[in-house]
Subunit: 271 residues, 2 copies
């Protein structure tokens, strides 16, 4: 089910700048029985992204109506909202006047084994590294080839995610989730001002756990953590069971964040 | 005029990974009365990009037939070929089996004032810098937000291009062209193995002028060049008249490369 600029439609112009240059932004939003507990945070990030890319701001009420229309009947759903700079002449110059393209699409809710929440997931340490680009860091833009290449490094279905570093050996995130580590009792999540995405589940956890430190996280320190877990607005809080051959056990901080995830209104399926 | 997977069509699926993630490549190819003098080089770069991104290789004969069908009747034309990884499930993992999307679109030939070739063009020095990402450097992928943001820095129509550096103060290219400088008699063009695109006009010039040095080019040295000019497979060899307030005169190396551009079969319009 999909709406393009409000109309039931499943295609966009082949000259859309979203396709030509990845010139746009997206959000993937989890709906639970017609509610989207992190909606406001998704909208805040989307608007911040539009400002960064100098795109017109979409109307959040309109997006809500369209997302709810597609998502509310599904029980559990993931709604992807994509906004692009719309049609453009050939060339990078901003089109004048710009007319954005708005795509709202609904997908079934996530299928996550209970064991992922209870025992954790296995993680591959990616060889691909993320580039430093403060102009694009934090926002959820459509230029995602780094993530595609990192995710392409493994096909073993027993491995659920990949640990991705920058070029200085600092851990940044998973391919599609943020990361938290507990180091000597302190909760740490990597800064995302040079690369990475400022996840909305991460933001919700930072608000609830204000002692969490947002800073650089060298790979060695990360691998030596007493707890390691991921946050995703779709999948919630996922303990890391192993990064390649280094094993971890879910700990009390991950459990507390899982509880907060439940309190926000997200079930943890069979967990 | 446009063909999508060989059919006259002007749209693609809103779930195409080219749109979702910028997961694909493109070439913009200049046609002159049914000929595309740099065709082979465009195909070489496209195939290299497909290998880098682990995408299936398109059939160059098929691409030629489609590009020629759209471009040969126009006299002067620009044909853009876009190939994407095609439809995918939600998520970064490579789709199995992958079916690429192929878009071939024709546009009118470039409109360039004769003075651009004779006297040169004015260039803005961009504040935006390019990120180091060797995984993506050199190829012409669809993740072009850096170029969009650099190009958005000016709207004065008297300024034709922007000079873009990396984060280490090395000049890389213009926003949509490569760059050559003459320094103490030596011809230099920046390396594009950390960022930037390996232009096909640049490749043609490197073959014809094998003494040209491919290396780092610090901004200070670049601005102190005795000649500065750009190369583009669409626009050819364009002398730089000024970078902001620093002025240049077209010199003998730019004129020799313009002659080679003509010899390849490209007119320089009214020049």
């Amino acid at each position: 089910m999909m709406l393009v600029n409000g109309q039931p439609h499943d295609s966009v112009s082949a000259l859309d700048r979203g396709l030509s240059y990845g010139d746009g932004l997206f959000e993937t939003i989890r709906f639970v029985h017609g509610r989207a507990p992190l909606w406001e945070r998704h909208m805040q990030r989307l608007m911040a992204g539009c400002e960064r890319l100098r795109m017109p701001l979409p109307d959040p009420q309109l997006l809500w109506r369209e997302a709810w229309r597609l998502g509310h009947g599904l029980g559990h759903a993931i709604v992807r909202i994509t906004v692009t700079r719309g049609l453009g002449e050939r060339g990078y110059a901003l089109p004048i006047p710009g007319t954005a393209t708005r795509i709202v699409a609904a997908f079934p809710g996530p299928a996550i084994a209970a064991s992922a929440y209870v025992d954790g997931i296995r993680v591959h340490r990616c060889r691909a590294t993320l580039a430093d680009q403060p102009l694009l860091a934090g926002i959820k833009h459509l230029n995602r080839l780094e993530q595609v290449l990192a995710r392409a490094e493994w096909s073993d279905p027993a491995i659920a995610e990949g640990l991705v570093c920058d070029r200085h050996g600092q851990v940044i995130s998973a391919t599609a989730a943020n990361l938290f580590a507990v180091l000597g009792g302190a909760i740490v999540t990597p800064a995302v001002d040079r690369c990475g995405v400022a996840g909305v589940a991460r933001a919700a956890m930072l608000e609830r756990f204000p002692d969490c430190q947002v800073r650089d996280l060298p790979l060695d320190a990360c691998l030596a953590a007493s707890e390691l877990f991921l946050s995703s607005s779709i999948r919630g809080i996922l303990p890391v069971q192993a990064v390649d051959d280094t094993v971890y056990a879910p700990g009390p901080v991950a459990r507390a964040m899982q509880q907060h995830w439940r309190d926000l209104g997200f079930p943890m399926e069979q967990a």
